[in-house]
Symmetry: C2
Subunit: 216 residues, 2 copies
């Protein structure tokens, strides 16, 4: 299974590349191929220092879509629509959305698009043969990149296709100590995305860092 990370040079994307590539073939995508290649070189170095083998390739976002089976949109909500509009070839692909539409006033809040969630908006923008799955929404960016740090969190996964959901849950369960939970159909992704501004508020108002959740 080849995993492509759109936005693979950002914090979460780079962290995902580090965490996925010892086990899966990973393509790091960027608008600029050179930047993607540089990120891969950096990740490879970090992994080799830890004695870990990896399969990493830097590419343009378009090549990342073309050559991957599973595509993770590791990009901020406001870039999702323009980036997706510039790309083709999502037919029959699995698309993972860890995207959270969030705004900030004196506190963080969920600011979903008219479709109800980023995940539903993304599904509406892609060909009907693509299957969108919400996952990895509630893990702090700061935790992904520190390879030595255990990710001991619960991950809610929403999808309308049972087989795709299981594939993505297996991917979640393969990363550190993450534990995947079936959180229902894609329409239920709104309440998963809205957990992230809650965690940001908890961090902010209690002077904590990188707060995550566990279902107990």
């Amino acid at each position: 299974m080849k995993i492509g990370i759109i936005g693979g040079t950002g914090d979460i994307g780079e962290g995902m590349a580090l965490r996925f590539s010892p086990r899966y073939d990973v393509i790091v995508g960027s608008r600029k191929e050179a930047k993607a290649i540089a990120t891969c070189d950096l990740c490879r170095e970090t992994l080799h220092e830890q004695g870990l083998e990896c399969s990493l390739l830097g590419a343009t976002n378009q090549r990342t879509v073309d050559e991957s089976d599973v595509i993770v949109l590791a990009i901020p909500f406001e870039y999702v629509a323009p980036i997706l509009k510039a790309l083709t070839g999502f037919e029959d692909k699995i698309v993972i959305s860890p995207v959270n539409p969030i705004k900030r006033a004196t506190y963080f809040y969920h600011a979903p698009p008219p479709e109800g969630s980023a995940a539903m908006m993304i599904a509406g923008m892609l060909p009907s043969s693509a299957t969108v799955c919400a996952a990895f929404n509630n893990i702090a960016a700061g935790r992904w990149k520190v390879l030595g740090e255990e990710l001991d969190y619960s991950v809610a996964v929403c999808c309308d296709d049972g087989d795709v959901k299981q594939t993505v849950m297996d991917l979640v369960n393969a990363v550190s100590s993450l534990r995947a939970y079936d959180a229902g159909p894609l329409a239920a992704a709104s309440i998963v995305e809205s957990v992230t501004p809650l965690l940001l508020n908890i961090a902010r108002f209690n002077r904590m860092r990188d707060v995550g959740i566990k279902f107990v």
Copy 2:
């Protein structure tokens, strides 16, 4: 500090009476006083069996409001407006909302009123000298009543008044192993309420019971 529980004869209300009354003076409120008194008798018996002293009084909802410093609205969302419309005397009171506006299709979802959350709707219905605080929203009803069961959960607390928020956080921290977290102003309560349908979905789709959360 006297704590009044509107809806004190329901599952969550009765559980709160059991958990609060060994430490605080508790008034259990109901539309029918006799029902409230019966619930108090039951709770007193359960607590005495465990060798615990308690301060419990059964009363009408109106007397509960009149004689309490802190009033918990332990009622389903659909009853909140009619019950509040029938009551007076909330001036200068602390009002705790554990209320979650939830609907169910093939999955559970957050269905807030036009005010954005149950908590904001409640604040709009009460006199301006009352202070509304969202708390205890994400604890499964089934866990409250079993006194022997540890409540080892995180509790997000939203309120616009810092002193009231601290009072309510102290109350949360006094119950079993609950741990209170400042989750921002009352306007942020929407994303706290929306965690509950997520937990119900997690329980449903993963064959679990009484799922709660911890911020980690």
